[in-house]
């Protein structure tokens, strides 16, 4: 079954007149009537993780609640709270309670799950105020701001959506879609960033296929599409907001970078690298520059992969970023291997995620170098 970005359970709840939001992998229902310990009717909010049905039921039957302890009509607490201090933040709202109430057959859908929890609370509220209901039929707030075409069950299942949220509102730029840039896109497209902007004036040729994620078909080479268009077409299958610029960055176009939150640079041209990195640094924009060198020694390959990290607070690495083209040097080669491009992208994406505290960020590595010769990573720290 094709999973659309429109959640059918949320749509159904919304169509029934409830105030529904789909945010960060959760379905949230607002205006949920319940009874507090003072036997007053109050209104709270439910949130449940959007889940994939497995073996006929959803795996997580719990629900989060924003409000005080719900009671029956006599003011006696309803015994289903398993975490009184859950305090999960979703969409600037703190859900303080976690409930557990599971029918023997489990829940077949998020819809069934939410209707059950709504019923448990609203039935008690209706005994005090017959007009208490979650159905308001007013300004239905069905919102789905997810960047993905289909839901990120991976993050939901691992319960790390609040951590992934740290990346959510970013506008990311990838300059250069060669081997490293294409792997950067592969990884970044699987994060909930708001927008991904691809910049490259080159076209996709047969040699590119051997340094790109996935497998290109032979027919693709005849069309000689711009790399940005080719990759946008593929990755728009998972990420909604990919923008393409089939150009090279120069004096006339560089200002397009001003609106980005974070930029990845994966280009071969030293002069362009110098201009772009200097520009971004002058603007106080955070960026990661990637690059590698591979050459031949005793009929084997050796070399290194570099990831340079520059921010407004830590601008020092700018002076170490290579901007020479090494055109007249015996060490100048254009040997690049897919796994080295992929590793360069991996190191860059991990550094970026550490910047935003997705991963713990204890040290500030400004320059990360993996050398092939000794299978070793060394860092230059702030």
């Amino acid at each position: 079954m094709v999973q659309s970005n429109h959640n059918n359970d949320a749509l159904r709840l919304s169509a029934e007149g409830r105030e529904v939001k789909v945010v960060n992998g959760y379905i949230i229902i607002q205006h949920v009537p319940y009874v507090n310990t003072s036997k007053e009717v109050c209104y709270g909010k439910f949130a449940v993780q959007i889940q994939q049905v497995q073996n006929g039921m959803i795996p997580d039957h719990t629900a989060l609640f924003s409000g005080s302890q719900p009671c029956d009509h006599r003011g006696v607490p309803i015994d289903m709270t398993i975490e009184p201090n859950a305090n999960v933040s979703i969409d600037l709202e703190v859900f303080n309670l976690k409930f557990s109430r599971k029918p023997q057959t489990g829940y077949k859908s998020n819809y069934d799950q939410l209707i059950m929890y709504l019923k448990i609370l609203s039935e008690q509220a209706e005994r005090i105020d017959p007009l208490a209901t979650s159905i308001t039929n007013k300004s239905i707030e069905y919102i789905d701001d997810d960047a993905f075409v289909y839901y990120d069950f991976n993050a939901c299942k691992a319960n790390i959506t609040t951590i992934s949220d740290k990346l959510r509102n970013q506008k990311i730029g990838i300059i250069g879609l060669g081997g490293t840039g294409s792997y950067l896109l592969d990884f970044i497209s699987k994060t909930p960033v708001k927008e991904i902007h691809l910049v490259d004036g080159d076209r996709f040729y047969q040699n590119n296929a051997f340094r790109a994620p996935g497998a290109a078909s032979y027919d693709e080479f005849a069309s000689q599409n711009f790399k940005v268009d080719r990759y946008a077409q593929i990755y728009s299958q998972i990420h909604k907001n990919i923008y393409t610029y089939p150009i090279y960055i120069d004096e006339n176009t560089i200002a397009m970078l001003d609106t980005l939150d974070f930029v990845f640079i994966s280009i071969d041209n030293g002069i362009a690298r110098k201009k772009i990195t200097q520009y971004l640094s002058d603007k106080g924009l955070s960026f990661i520059d990637t690059g590698m060198n591979v050459d031949v020694v005793r009929n084997s390959l050796r070399g290194a992969i570099r990831t340079s990290y520059v921010t407004r607070e830590q601008p020092n690495e700018l002076q170490n970023i290579p901007t020479d083209d090494f055109t007249d040097n015996v060490y100048n080669s254009n040997i690049q291997i897919a796994e080295l491009n992929a590793l360069n992208a991996v190191l860059a994406v991990i550094r970026w995620k550490r910047h935003y505290q997705f991963y713990v960020n204890n040290d500030i590595e400004l320059q990360i170098v993996y050398n092939i010769d000794y299978d070793q990573i060394t860092n230059a720290n702030a």
Binding site: N293, G303, N329
Partner: protein
């Protein structure tokens, strides 16, 4: 009132200076070393060394400025440079010297240099522009113009 003195260590010997800021020549004099001897300061965070010239000014009051060493004369070792053996006749090597060895130029090229299996002062790390490290036999050094993507 007791006058403040500034302690510093050259190799394993501890010395004192009444002045917080002294020259390299003064430091050698206090340590009983010939002016012809080359000394170095051991930098924090195992980030290599700084050569102290006779006319260099050293502020001993600055935190972390206290450990120094004497460069061994007639030193010789084998560097594993980009996986090839290179004979080297100094106890230290600078960023510029690595670039010169690998690229055969005295131009200031921006390259990525790493080292490992180094002496205790700088066992491993990245050698950046302007930096110097101590070397020992079979220290592993790589230098690459990492510009391809």
């Amino acid at each position: 009132m007791k006058k403040e003195v500034f302690k510093f260590k050259v190799d394993s010997n501890i010395f004192e200076s009444e002045k917080s800021v002294i020259s390299g020549a003064e430091m050698k004099s206090i340590a009983g070393l010939s002016p012809d001897i080359t000394i170095y300061q051991i930098l924090d965070k195992k980030a290599g060394i700084k050569i102290i010239q006779n006319d260099s000014s050293v502020d001993l009051s600055v935190s972390g400025v206290e450990k120094f060493g004497v460069i061994i004369q007639n030193f010789s070792c084998t560097l594993k440079l980009n996986s090839s053996d290179i004979q080297w006749n100094k106890q230290y090597i600078s960023y510029d010297e690595v670039v010169s060895l690998v690229y055969g130029t005295n131009e200031v090229l921006k390259v990525s240099i790493t080292y490992s299996h180094g002496p205790e002062t700088n066992p491993n790390g990245n050698l950046l522009i302007g930096e110097i490290i101590l070397v020992k036999d079979f220290i592993r050094i790589t230098a690459d113009g990492t510009v391809k993507s």
